[in-house]
């Protein structure tokens, strides 16, 4: 056990790792309480229409059944909030509000029984009669509505007409699902008249706000715990229907109730990343300088009018295309297509992961058309300011990312021509892309308390935010260790509890950037207070001694961070990702064999967990590129493979060696006092287009539809050999 204090930027061991490798970390579904009852959900078997009647008699008579909730007996629930800061639900109507069905798998009943087996069996006995209505689940089959928000600069149409070089291509992304390994789970119970919920959520305070409104309680009478969350990636922002229903049932039964979703229910009822169709039109000079970029996106949203009116959540693809490259003329339009599916939600780098798929793919095509190195094309269009707002980046080192990434990868040896590297029966290809993600920061508070304990000091760091596997526990411990010169072993971090100081949703890669400066601010206050008790200014600071001189056993300070409001500068992270693929044309198989990513994320707080986050993001990118798609059956409106054998996630065998690094000494001190931006999302960005570009480099075939499955590759190869003049 080391007793030296770690420094910001160094490699610390993840402080919660021991509890995880020994199976001691308690996740929501692990919570067992005396008298616990178990819920099972009944999902609609139609995609649109009405529930005519629910016959619950057989279910109610089944062994162990305690309660069957439907829209007929659910009882009153208040309207749900649906604005930022106030909690979010996928559907502003409470669950089981009425007889309307908007998607297949929408909860139409919930059974509660003594055991999970009894609940599951009884759920199969609930007999629901429906009046089905027509529905549509294919984004290419339905009418679109244009959104009013259409960012533009210059005169895109004129520039596209006049330019010496143009490109007009459509890139698509399927419905993909964040699909954390831990299914959604909640245990609700009432203690006196207060509600206590153990949930798996990115946002305990969001849950608290929603539940308080639903049950007409002041917020402080709702307590939500989420000390460990088994991954999320955007899927656990909304307070889901089963959480509310578990609380309803717990109140009715006066017993704790546990509701755990099956993975089929997660994939069906938890909002996925919306499908997109993205048309990119580029105009450029012959030297590759961009003149115009038009980005027309079609993405799907929910059909429920209530939802669509309130918040047509759409995949915000144009956020990244407008800001990344210098380009005088720009226009983005966005159409949304209502489908009879669960309302889409967030998935790691919403907008960036999809927008860059289209933009970076199109740039690779432009580079090929102009016989330019794809990296040279990026450098030619590099912008040191947000290209749309014109604000200079406060701290931007993208060129160094390109340079170092290219060096590590060996990019300079790349032959521009496709089909230039062969290895046995396979072709090798190299591709690259730019990665970027905005710096986000939200108001947060963190308390740091020092206790005198058995002759030494112990620090407790607390905030309501949740660690989703992101490394929050470790990051905060490192910040405090660094600020107060304490070994990690003397620090406890408490997270994921509404009783702790307020903290925003863990999302948008914001949490470290928001809480780390707040934790440091708390430490600065503590230092100032305690250093006043030094006998001489050069006396070394022994907190234990100073605390006893102050006559205190304990001292606490709360530090805060506010939201970003920087009118003068932009804050973004950047990176460059380089990929090697191995393509077996006979099998249509694409394997990623090597990935190098170099990032500018400001000051890294903890190197261990940052490295893991970046690697994890790249693995997500491999899934996005090669495997993941949720396909809905147009006849029945349900996903054709709503389980982990059908919704393919990357496995060990799909993931090669991944070499990630970041630039040192590039703190973004205009962003926060530590200079750190988040790292949770940038890793996925750029990976999919780099892979597709590498495939093109390997075999000269351009794939524009994700995922890059063998059937698509084989079809494209057949197409190319039928029309050889088009196979560049």
């Amino acid at each position: 056990m080391s007793t030296t204090s770690p420094r910001i930027g160094g490699f610390a061991d993840r402080i919660d790792a021991r509890s995880k490798v020994t199976g001691q970390a308690r996740y929501a579904a692990d919570v067992v309480l005396p008298g616990l009852a178990h819920a099972a959900l009944v999902g609609s078997t139609i995609a649109s229409g009405r529930v005519l009647g629910v016959d619950t008699a057989r279910a109610e008579q089944a062994g162990g059944v305690l309660l069957v909730l439907t829209h007929l007996n659910r009882g009153p629930l208040g309207d749900l909030p649906n604005g930022d800061g106030d909690g979010l639900t996928a559907d502003p109507r409470p669950p089981l509000a009425d007889d309307r069905v908007h998607y297949r798998g929408q909860i139409v009943a919930m059974v509660v029984a003594e055991s999970p087996e009894e609940a599951a069996h009884a759920a199969s006995l609930v007999d629901v009669r429906y009046e089905p209505a027509p529905f549509v689940v294919d984004i290419d089959d339905a009418d679109a509505t244009r959104l009013a928000d259409a960012p533009r600069r210059g005169d895109c149409a004129a520039a596209l007409r006049a330019a010496p070089v143009t490109l007009d291509v459509v890139y698509s992304t399927p419905i993909q699902h964040p699909c954390p390994l831990e299914p959604h789970a909640a245990v609700a119970h009432w203690v006196d008249h207060d509600l206590v919920v153990h949930d798996t959520t990115q946002w305990v305070r969001g849950d608290q706000a929603v539940l308080a409104r639903a049950f007409g309680l002041p917020r402080e009478r709702v307590r939500v715990h989420a000390p460990f969350v088994g991954g999320s990636f955007g899927a656990k922002v909304f307070t889901a229907a089963h959480v509310l229903l578990a609380a309803v049932a717990a109140r009715r039964l006066q017993r704790p109730v546990k509701a755990v979703l099956r993975s089929s229910e997660v994939l069906t009822a938890v909002g996925p990343r919306a499908a997109t169709r993205q048309r990119i039109q580029l105009a450029a000079e012959r030297d590759g300088r961009l003149l115009a970029l038009r980005h027309h996106t079609r993405s799907h949203c929910a059909t429920d009018r209530g939802v669509a009116d309130l918040d047509p959540f759409y995949e915000p693809t144009s956020g990244v295309t407008r800001m990344l490259y210098a380009c005088p003329h720009y226009e983005a339009v966005h159409d949304v297509v209502p489908l009879h599916l669960a309302k889409p939600g967030w998935m790691r780098a919403p907008g960036e992961a999809t927008g860059l798929w289209a933009l970076e793919g199109a740039l690779d095509e432009l580079a090929c058309a102009l016989h330019l190195d794809p990296l040279a094309l990026r450098l030619r269009n590099h912008s040191s300011r947000d290209a749309h707002t014109g604000k200079p980046h406060a701290s931007e080192h993208l060129r160094e990312c390109y340079e170092q990434g290219a060096e590590r990868f060996g990019w300079a040896r790349r032959d521009l021509r496709p089909r230039s590297m062969r290895d046995g029966d396979a072709w090798l290809g190299w591709g690259m892309a730019t990665a970027t993600y905005p710096g986000n920061r939200d108001p947060a508070s963190v308390s740091v308390r020092l206790d005198r304990e058995r002759g030494r000091i112990h620090a407790t760091v607390s905030t309501a935010g949740a660690d989703l596997g992101t490394g929050m526990y470790t990051m905060l411990a490192v910040v405090v260790a660094d600020a107060l010169d304490l070994p990690l072993e003397w620090i406890t971090v408490e997270l994921g509890d509404t009783r702790l100081p307020p903290c925003p949703v863990t999302g948008g890669s914001n949490l470290t950037a928001s809480t780390a400066p707040a934790a440091r601010a708390a430490c600065v206050q503590l230092r100032r207070r305690l250093l006043a008790f030094r006998r001489a200014p050069d006396e070394s600071a022994d907190w234990h001694e100073l605390l006893s001189r102050a006559g205190l056993d304990q001292v606490e300070a709360v530090g805060t961070t506010d939201a970003v409001h920087d009118d003068a500068r932009a804050h973004h992270s950047f990176g460059a990702v380089f990929v090697e693929v191995r393509v077996a044309p006979e099998l249509g198989r694409i394997r990623v064999t090597r990935v190098v990513g170099v990032y500018d994320v400001g000051q890294v707080v903890d190197a261990t967990t940052t490295r893991s986050q970046l690697i994890g993001g790249i693995v997500f990118g491999i899934g996005q590129a090669l495997l993941e798609q949720l396909v809905h059956d147009p006849m029945h409106g349900l996903p054709v493979h709503a389980d982990l054998a059908g919704y393919l996630l990357p496995t060990h065998a799909d993931v090669p060696e991944i070499d990630v690094d970041w630039l040192e000494d590039v703190p973004d001190l205009a962003f926060n006092t530590i200079g750190c931006r988040g790292v949770g999302e940038i890793g996925i960005t750029g990976v999919a287009p780099a892979i597709a570009s590498a495939v093109h480099h390997a075999i000269g075939v351009r794939l524009r539809d994700l995922p890059l499955t063998p059937d698509r590759l084989l079809a494209a190869l057949a197409d190319a050999s039928a029309r050889p003049e088009r196979a560049k």
Binding site: K20, V21, Y27, D30, E117, E118, E182, G471, A645, V655
Partner: protein, 152 residues
Amino acid sequence: MVRLTVNGERHELDLDPRTTLLDALRDHLGLTGAKKGCDHGQCGACTVHVDGRRVLSCLALAVAQQGREVMTIEGLALGVHLHPLQLAFIECDALQCGFCTAGQIMSAAALLGEVEHRRELSDASIRERMSGNLCRCGAYPNILAAIRRVRT
């Protein structure tokens, strides 16, 4: 009554015959280290050892395990001394959210036994043998490093 031996301890449980080994461990014995990721044998989060072999406990009925030795992640460490794989997982940061971790470690521990007699063990072979254990957080490269560290 179902008699189970788990981590060397004998238990007699009054179980619904439909109870899976995973639910028996989690709901009846309080051993919640093994996780339920999919309940369908598709993710590996529930991996435990039965008579030394790795088994997906969500696909095994508890009643069928009588007379066998079940070991879970809670039984892997020797008292306070972590198993070398547990230490290696910490040192290599072979986990993020931790939800797959018990399954990964139990799978890796069995794997080491399966390949004991082999002189060579390539990275590709480890990856293949570990591919029944999904990690949505993408800790794969670090998990491989951790296994490598133990099997040098």
